[in-house]
Amino acid sequence: MGTMMKKIKTFFQLPYVCWTVKMSYYLLILLGLLMIYGFKTTNSSAFIYNEF
């Protein structure tokens, strides 16, 4: 179990794996934004703490 975890950790520390994971994370966020808002500009309300 310990060796397996070590291998997984080492795998995710590889530069190209890190890069792919990070890029996928950014792309997923952009995809999420696109799905919710499309190509319109957001109509998001102000932040709650702007009121204070």
């Binding site: 994370y25 950014y26 966020i29 999420g32 934004l33 919710i36 808002y37 500009t41 957001t42 998001s44 309300s45 102000a46 932040f47 709650i48 703490y49 702007n50 009121e51 204070f52």
Partner: protein, 382 residues
């Protein structure tokens, strides 16, 4: 245009940041160009409402005069009365902004971010009184107050920490790391504010079932609102911290996994940290020190409880003079005092032993207690 609330804002910010990034990679910083960036962002934030713009300019002039006058005075004298008067005068615009709505008078004094600028100014005055801050030039004060990434809602930076960042130009490698972290933060902000907070609000809070005010809907609302509040504010903070990093300033964080807090003390070290630390340092600590020095109350625990009460009462009132904000402050004061008492007694009685199981249980209990606090804060109860 409210900072970070629309994609157009981010597009403008992206364009404005191109020369900042290029200079950052060349281990340079242009004060003139950065000032232009701040001026554009401030104009975007305030120019659409002439009242806000005028109030903002008058406010800045007022605070600059106050701080510089006090800095000059402090070199000669150190009268307590003068110090309190200057702090009061620095607080006047914020007090007026909070009181006008109560008197049903239209608020022409307030503007976006007035609270956060006031915290910064009061902090400088107190530091001068303590001798921790000796001199401040108008330029330094303006750079601190008008730092645009955090203008609308903090995080509340400390002058000396900010000043250190302004005096240090990061190396190419340090800047590369700051830029990387900054972009990461901005994407995290998108995820929190524009995806998670939006979905919670749109798909849960705004549904007719939750808006129906039945006991079950209020129960669900309590958790939904707590998560919404966190993702909304943590999203904003991530944008503000991220933009600061890109400008080479390591603005402090506001959140550190607050819903995983083990108790109330832990929670206030993780939630809206820049505000809670400000209140801890400039209200609680000063109050406790003052009470102990004057020996009005001998018992240090009683002094500490009065300190908690004052801190959370002021924090509640700062949100607004509405009953639910005051109740929110008092609720947290009661929780902190209650937890402190329990923690002390538990050292003798050993009722709550420390192990993995109690730790998990502590997190679960604290989470529900916090959510109930946010239900009070939301104003849905009264």
């Amino acid at each position: 245009m409210i900072p970070y609330s629309s994609f157009s804002f981010f597009m403008i910010l992206g364009i404005l940041f191109v020369p900042v990034v290029v200079l950052g990679y060349k281990e340079k910083r242009s004060i003139v160009y950065n000032s232009l960036v701040h001026a554009v962002i401030l104009l975007l934030a305030f120019a659409s409402d002439i009242h806000q713009l005028v109030s903002f300019i008058v406010y800045i002039v007022w605070q600059v005069i106050l701080v510089n006058w006090y800095a000059a005075y402090r070199k000669e004298k150190n009268e307590a009365g003068v110090f309190y008067a200057v702090v009061f005068l620095a607080l006047v615009p914020l007090l007026v902004t909070k009181l006008l709505p109560v008197w049903n008078v239209s608020n022409i004094v307030g503007f976006l971010g007035i609270s956060y600028l006031t915290f910064k100014t009061v902090q400088m005055i107190i530091d001068m009184r303590d001798g921790a801050l000796k001199t401040v030039t108008v330029k330094e004060q303006l750079m601190f107050l008008l730092f645009s990434p955090t203008i609308s809602s903090g995080p509340i930076d400390r002058f000396k920490r900010f000043q250190k960042d302004m005096e240090t130009i990061p190396t190419r490698e340090e800047y590369r790391l700051l830029l990387y972290k900054g972009i990461n933060k901005i994407f995290l902000g998108f995820l929190y504010k524009f995806i998670i907070a939006y979905v919670i609000n749109d798909r849960v809070i705004e549904t007719p079932f939750i808006q129906a005010h039945t006991p079950l809907s209020t129960f669900i609302y309590m958790y939904a609102y707590s998560l919404y509040l966190f993702f909304d504010f943590a999203g904003y903070s991530a944008f503000a911290v991220g933009a600061s990093y890109i400008m080479g300033v390591k603005t402090p964080e506001n959140f550190n996994l607050p819903f995983l807090s083990k108790n109330m003390k832990d929670f206030w070290n993780r939630w809206h940290m820049s505000l809670s630390f400000w209140f801890r340092d400039y209200v609680y600590m000063r109050f406790v020190f003052w009470m102990m020095k004057n020996k009005w109350i001998q018992n240090r625990y009683t002094v500490s409880y009065f300190g908690y009460f004052l801190l959370f009462f002021l924090m509640g009132v700062w949100h607004g003079l509405e009953l639910h904000y005051v109740a929110y402050g008092l609720y947290h004061a009661a929780l902190m005092i209650g937890y402190d008492f329990f923690e002390r007694k538990n050292k003798q009685w050993k009722i709550w032993k420390k192990n993995k199981g109690t730790e998990v249980l502590s997190v679960i209990i604290t989470f529900h207690v916090i959510c109930f606090g946010f239900l009070i804060f939301s104003g849905r109860l009264f």
